[in-house]
């Protein structure tokens, strides 16, 4: 049965009327119009739907609405601040770390989550944390470089 559930998405409370069993991905896309998070596999295997829940990457295609009520959600639409790209978004452009771009929102959200926990990740840490995200165009090496570039830019920006 549909209930009214309040989600905190990108810093704003949004009320949605939906069954608590529904998957977060489709509520974001179909109910809230936030289509940046993508459907890729529906079983948490590709990472195209990745969002941050209280700062940690989660696969929204297998995350039930009931499990995120009252938690802080960040989607790709919420990463840029005051019209300025997140350093990782900028790094993706600078490293040309995309081709078709369909995996890109999930990659960037997952990478941004990693950088919040580990501001200066090693290559192995990047590989470990990104292994669950698929890019069929094969831009993996460029994505690793983009994460390193963003880490450097964020380090330099810190006072």
């Amino acid at each position: 049965m549909a209930e009214t559930i309040t989600l905190n998405v990108n810093g704003t409370d949004r009320a949605v009327k939906a069954s608590p069993d529904r998957m977060l991905l489709w509520v974001l896309r179909d109910e809230l119009g936030l289509t940046g998070s993508k459907y890729g596999c529906g079983e948490g295997q590709c990472g195209a739907c990745t969002v941050l829940v209280d700062g940690s990457p989660r696969r929204s295609c297998i995350t039930r609405l009931s499990s995120v009520a009252g938690k802080r959600l960040t989607t790709i639409e919420g990463l840029a601040q005051n019209g300025e790209l997140h350093p990782l978004q900028q790094a993706f452009i600078d490293e040309d770390a995309l081709q078709c771009g369909y995996c890109t929102p999930g990659m960037i959200v997952a990478g941004a989550g990693l950088l919040m926990k580990k501001p200066d990740p090693t290559v192995d840490e990047i590989l470990d944390s990104m292994q669950g995200n698929v890019c069929r165009c094969g831009t993996y090496n460029r994505i690793v470089k983009a994460i390193q570039r963003a880490a450097k830019a964020m380090k330099e920006a810190r006072p």
Binding site: L34, C100, Y140
Partner: protein
């Protein structure tokens, strides 16, 4: 290689790529055209075969006639200086939105940012057969360059008339015409208040690649910002007021037909429209859970066709071999084999694999005023339009297909299933309907890269030259079957077979299979002749560019210094396809249990002529090496009892971060020719390079794609 032979290679028929359908017609007359576009200068580019046969001039528009159909592309320079280019090609991640604009910016010349590409929209853009076969760069790009050159000449003429000077004293640069006495006027200013139409007559001279200023540079991806912010809307992201979500009931078995169905329970659900039309059954509902529940409520019985399993696949293919395309022969095999000191035979197998584009098939359809409008992800917008016309018996002007920049294709999005399904459901529901295929649907009901069996017999003379070469390809296709090596006596035959799965195009298509078999077998011959694989290949090559890529890759890789051990192997392969050359060197590691191969380093040299965008080309090459690693090491569609047995991403491994080797590319950047396409050929070398590296390390010859680890354990 002679020109004739080269042409034959380029034009080698692609079995799975459909040929052009009906030609496009504009509906606009001249007055309407400029009402829509605003004043300015329009240049129409005829398709190569129409050039000289027809010209577009003001009279044909003034008379209210339709434009001649054979338009390949057109551009419009507006009063505001914005240059709009209209082409039916689709952007699917290969970055032609960037590279085509670079070509035009060179030719006009104009600032890169003043160019706006309007692509893949059946109402706005001219007919185009599709974005495949690495044809955008060799075919569409010169058409736009010629349009640019014609526009440049027209603008110079306008300025000459305005200033009363001779055209030869004027120069076009950076969006302006300049002349003696620091005269300068922008293109937009020149076209102000004018309604000018030009068609390309004759063959305007294009700039030589050595004179390119914008092409040849790594211009960043156009629209990159929209992709990294999630703002770009793929077909699956589009929505309309009152839109319903559509789902289609799939048959219980591959190839099954419907025996009976009961839709009453679904029809009774609130807000649900359930449709049966022949074998098609689908539902439309206000939201996804309701649509899924409605689908589950439908009871259907399906026939169960006889089927084979993937275990029997290769014997099935060979035993059903029917019509061949005829042997492509030269010299005499008999003479060749009698001169051979060593004769070998081998059989290679290539599994079915799935494109697995991360954006599955998706479409949003809406009917209005008796016409149909569809947003879908596709490599063939006009092909989808034709499918919709056929399905609903509509004339072309009633079907409008819009293809937003698409979440990749790799040859897997030539068909319009989701568009037809969404349109059928929208018609029944009387509301817009969006259908997004699930990943499982994409695996089972899209099409796969053809599987194949390739048999080769070869003879090598005492001096290491290949005296005889006989190759048979069963089912996977003819592209890339003919060797680029100088084999005096050869025969190459493609046999058509019965494919148990629906098969279709794929990046590089059969060239990957044919190169895997050929480059592996050449290694076998080299070994039989006791020669180094590099030296053996060079001994049998004459084509300078072929030699060039192989030498460049081997040098960068350090081939001479690479000594294999039981845990580490080195292999190489060379190839030619779609008028471009590639050579790939791979270094692999084998773990101690002999269970797993890891590709640690790859060097690839690529020659597609002059490079338009080095960084984007590198990105393509790197991506193809990754995609090729999947087919080489682990991708294989398995099936039994009428269904796929691994049709989910959790069961079908694709390359991931940790599969990526260190990759170095060598871009040959050969000048003096027009560039070839680059989205396919770089995939063909990696699988044989890996297999040859495994042989160098273990002495075990791999003859299957994907490689079965137990074969070298």
């Amino acid at each position: 290689m002679t020109d004739d032979k080269r042409l034959e290679t380029i034009l080698e028929p692609e079995r799975y790529e459909l040929s052009a359908g009906p030609l496009y017609c504009f509906e606009l007359d001249r007055r309407e055209f400029f009402q829509l576009m605003g004043c300015g200068l329009a240049v129409f580019c005829l398709t190569p075969r129409a050039e000289g046969a027809e010209t577009i001039d003001e009279r044909s528009f003034a008379a209210g006639q339709r434009q001649p159909a054979q338009i390949a592309a057109w551009l419009h320079i507006g009063e505001d200086g914005v240059i709009s280019v209209y082409t039916g090609k689709a952007e699917i991640g290969q970055n032609i939105r960037t590279s085509l604009a670079q070509a035009l910016a060179d030719e006009l010349p104009a600032p890169f940012d003043s160019i706006r590409m309007v692509m893949a929209d059946t109402r706005l853009t001219p007919y185009d057969a599709g974005t495949f076969g690495s044809q955008t760069t060799p075919r569409m790009s010169p058409i736009l360059r010629k349009a640019g050159a014609a526009a440049r000449e027209a603008l110079i003429q306008l300025a000459a008339e305005r200033w009363g000077t001779g055209a030869k004293d004027l120069k076009a640069e950076d969006g302006k015409i300049t002349g003696p006495g620091s005269k300068s006027i922008s293109y937009g200013e020149l076209t102000k208040g004018k309604q000018l139409m030009e068609s390309i007559a004759g063959d305007p001279e294009m700039k030589q690649s050595s004179d390119w200023a914008v092409s040849g540079r790594s211009i960043p991806k156009v629209g990159a910002c929209e992709f990294v912010t999630g703002e770009h809307r793929y077909a699956s992201d589009h929505a309309l007021p009152g839109m319903l979500i559509g789902k289609v009931l799939r048959p219980a078995f591959l190839g099954a037909s419907l025996k009976s169905a009961d839709l009453s329970a679904a029809q009774a659900m609130e807000g649900v429209t359930a449709v049966q039309d022949g074998d098609f059954i689908g539902v439309a509902a206000p939201d996804l859970p309701t649509a899924e529940a409605a689908l589950l409520a439908i009871k259907a019985e399906w026939t169960r066709p006889d089927s084979i399993s993937s275990k029997e696949l290769y014997s099935h293919l060979v035993s059903t071999a029917g019509r061949s395309d005829g042997a492509k022969e030269s010299g005499s095999l008999e003479t060749g084999f009698s001169a051979a000191a060593h004769t070998l035979e081998a059989e290679y197998t290539i599994a079915y694999i799935a494109h697995t584009p991360l954006e599955p098939r998706a479409a949003l359809a809406v009917w209005q005023d008796g016409g149909l409008m569809v947003w879908t992800g596709s490599q063939r917008p006009f092909g989808v339009q034709e499918e919709l016309q056929r399905a609903f018996r509509l004339p072309p002007e009633k079907v409008h297909v819009i293809v937003p920049d698409t979440g990749s294709g790799y040859g897997g999005k030539h068909t319009g299933e989701a568009a037809v399904e969404a349109a059928r459901l929208a018609k029944a529901a009387g509301a817009p309907v969006k259908v997004i295929w699930t990943r499982t649907e994409e695996f089972s009901w899209a099409y796969v890269r053809p599987a194949g069996v390739i048999r080769i017999k070869g003879g090598v003379a005492e001096d290491g030259s290949v005296a005889a070469w006989e190759a048979h390809n069963y089912n996977s296709g003819s592209s890339g079957l003919r060797p680029m090596y100088e084999f005096p006596n050869q025969s190459n035959v493609f046999h058509r077979c019965d494919s148990p799965l629906r098969q279709g195009s794929y990046r590089g298509l059969a060239a990957t299979a044919n190169h895997f078999a050929r480059e592996s077998f050449i290694d076998e011959l080299a070994h039989a002749a006791g020669m180094d694989p590099l030296a053996f290949r060079l001994k049998n090559m004459r084509d300078e560019r072929f030699i060039g890529v192989l030498t460049a890759a081997a040098e960068r890789f350090g081939w001479k210094e690479s000594k294999s051990t039981p845990e580490r192997g080195f292999g190489l392969a060379a190839g030619f396809e779609k008028n471009s050359y590639v050579a790939t060197c791979a270094e692999i590691e084998i773990d101690k249990n002999k269970k797993r191969v890891r590709v640690v380093r790859v060097v690839e040299a690529f020659d597609c002529g002059p490079v338009i965008n080095p960084d984007h080309l590198n990105n393509q090459i790197e991506g193809m090496i990754l995609m090729g690693i999947g087919g080489a090491l682990f991708e294989s569609i398995e099936f039994a009892n009428g269904n796929l047995t691994n049709g989910r991403l959790s069961q079908y491994p694709v390359p991931r971060f940790k599969d990526a080797p260190a990759i170095e590319t060598v871009l040959m950047n050969t000048q003096g020719i027009y560039p070839a396409g680059a989205g396919e050929t770089p995939i063909v070398g990696i699988a044989p390079a890996i297999a040859n590296a495994i042989f160098s390390s273990t002495g075990k010859r791999i003859r299957s794609m994907p490689i079965q680890p137990e074969l070298f354990a």
